[in-house]
Point group: C2
Chain length 338, copies 2
């Protein structure tokens, strides 16, 4: 059996997460039981939600156990099968975690899904045509409920979720405005992802300055906002929300490392009669088929051209993940294992 | 024509509102035109939203103009009529403002509404069977959407909105827990208003202590919260919200005087997938008939026994209003003018 390199959570962060929280471990892959397959991971997904699981705190997901493989999405191929549902060579996505191989019980619901890589590259099933894409779809379609002509804003606009959000909102006739970190990302958001405008938050040192930039980019105000980051960016967007605006709350990276970041102007929720709703896409499996169909079509027809940041080799995963939390990635953050 | 004493907004508050922001003015009531009536106010309503209008800031309501009568709800009787729709002696509610008399054009939509005082005392049309009652109804029924067996919490529980909320939630089979300031109010909330429990926030000097008291009063967590005050009370409630909880945001008194009060733990909106929605009842006139019918029945059958704080005479209005902002009222704050 092949050797399998894994990244374990070794200890919990005290404040900011660091590389020393993780540990590289090499194990033998076990012999398969009936009904099991061995998946060789081609790509591992790195996502901000993983930071929350590193804490031992009450949250929507159980904490990541210490001394075990970090959980996470994976895309790969079957290399050995003791199930007649899969044969070697089949491309699959699953939740294999931070390791090179995983043994999967195929009967476990939702554990593995076969995918077609004819029109959509395998890695995109971890991004635009996977969990991040469906996340954008749910927030836009089910919480924000956009109308043509409205203005939609998304933070972390060039990330896996943000870029899908932009394409989905554009397809619904909305003005789309992104917020991203750096001139290069903003250029990409407008030229490649089709955003009508993109604001580089790094050019704005306070909420007032960012708020002013939002006013220019959103002359009719903001009707829908998809929140990936929280903190000062969210505060600034809230100052520009129109009456009856909707905010889909998907992530608050700003508060993941250490202390909670307060919301500066909660009274705006009242004065502008805003709706703000937090959600987790894995609790809404019923929308996945519809969402994946639209996302697959957007990618297949070139209307959504997601960008990827690819780190090479399992050893690179911790640093790539820490970079993601700092916004150093540019597009969907992956680790390539083959 | 009778003399009419009025309270004008003389100047805007710098930070905390004070009595010197107001000015007492005496004018003659003008002769009536065709289609007008003269209303003698028996009661004036004092409500927290008025504080927001004293500022010259963008908000849902236009700012209260300087040098004019403070706006507000009134209940009274027709004393002179040049309309065949009203005759002297008719009891009416309207938006007559802080003055003893008002001249009303009866054709103006929503300006005046005739009420029946056979089973419901006139003053209650400014409280439980008026705007505050409908406010509670809208937040509970349309935003929180309670299910029997769930736990509902309301701040300012003995106020006009809070007491109606308690009765409406109880009628739907919920556990109802109030938050109020002082042992006397809490005793009243449980013994007279039918709350299952009531927490005296003045006994808790920080969020942690109030959160602990909420845990005891809400052993199954909190599913719905009706927010009247904001600030630390809201922060504490948020720590006890169950997954998929709903928060109806109706008022944030804590932030009305001066600087905005931040929300301490916005990440809980995400981790617990909460919905938070601000609303203004005057934008939902379509629900008023249904809501007033239920509220009138609750009052008529003794299931809702609203308490009133009554100040005597127009001159007492400013101090009574400032007391309301400090929580010194006990029940619906009125000014009696006859």
């Amino acid at each position: 059996m092949p050797q399998n390199k894994q990244i374990h959570l070794d200890n919990r962060p005290q404040g900011e997460a660091t590389a020393s929280n993780f540990k590289l471990v090499t194990v033998e892959t076990p012999a398969l039981q009936d009904g099991q397959v061995l998946v060789k991971h081609h790509f591992m997904s790195l996502d901000p939600y993983m930071r929350g699981r590193m804490n031992d705190a009450k949250s929507y997901a159980a904490p990541q156990p210490l001394g075990q493989v970090m959980g996470g999405g994976t895309a790969g191929e079957i290399v050995e099968s003791k199930s007649d549902k899969y044969k070697p060579g089949d491309k699959v996505v699953g939740m294999g975690g931070w390791q090179e191989y995983s043994v999967v019980n195929v009967e476990q619901p939702g554990a593995l899904r076969k995918v077609d890589t004819t029109h959509v590259p395998l890695s995109h099933y971890l991004g635009a045509v996977g969990m991040p894409g469906v996340t954008a779809w749910y927030g836009l379609v089910k919480i924000i409920e956009p109308k043509a002509g409205e203005t939609m804003v998304v933070s972390a606009a060039t990330g896996a979720v943000g870029s899908a959000f932009g394409a989905l909102a554009k397809a619904r006739g909305c003005r789309t405005v992104g917020i991203a970190g750096g001139a290069q990302k903003c250029k990409y958001a407008v030229e490649e992802l089709g955003f009508d405008a993109c604001i580089d938050y790094k050019q704005h040192k306070d909420v007032g300055s960012l708020s002013k930039a939002l006013k220019e980019a959103c002359p009719d105000g903001i009707d829908g906002y998809f929140e990936n980051v929280g903190g000062a960016v969210m505060d600034a967007v809230m100052t520009r929300m129109n009456a009856f605006g909707r905010i889909a709350l998907c992530g608050m990276i700003a508060g993941y490392d250490g202390k909670p970041v307060p919301m500066a102007f909660p009274q705006l929720l009242l004065t502008n009669r805003l709706k703000l709703q937090g959600f987790i896409v894995s609790e809404h499996m019923e929308v996945w088929p519809e969402a994946l169909k639209e996302l697959g079509t957007l990618v297949g027809t070139g209307k959504l051209r997601p960008r990827e940041s690819v780190a090479q080799g399992i050893e690179a995963a911790p640093e790539a993940f820490l970079g993601l939390l700092k916004g150093r990635n540019f597009g969907k953050q992956l680790v390539k294992l083959v």
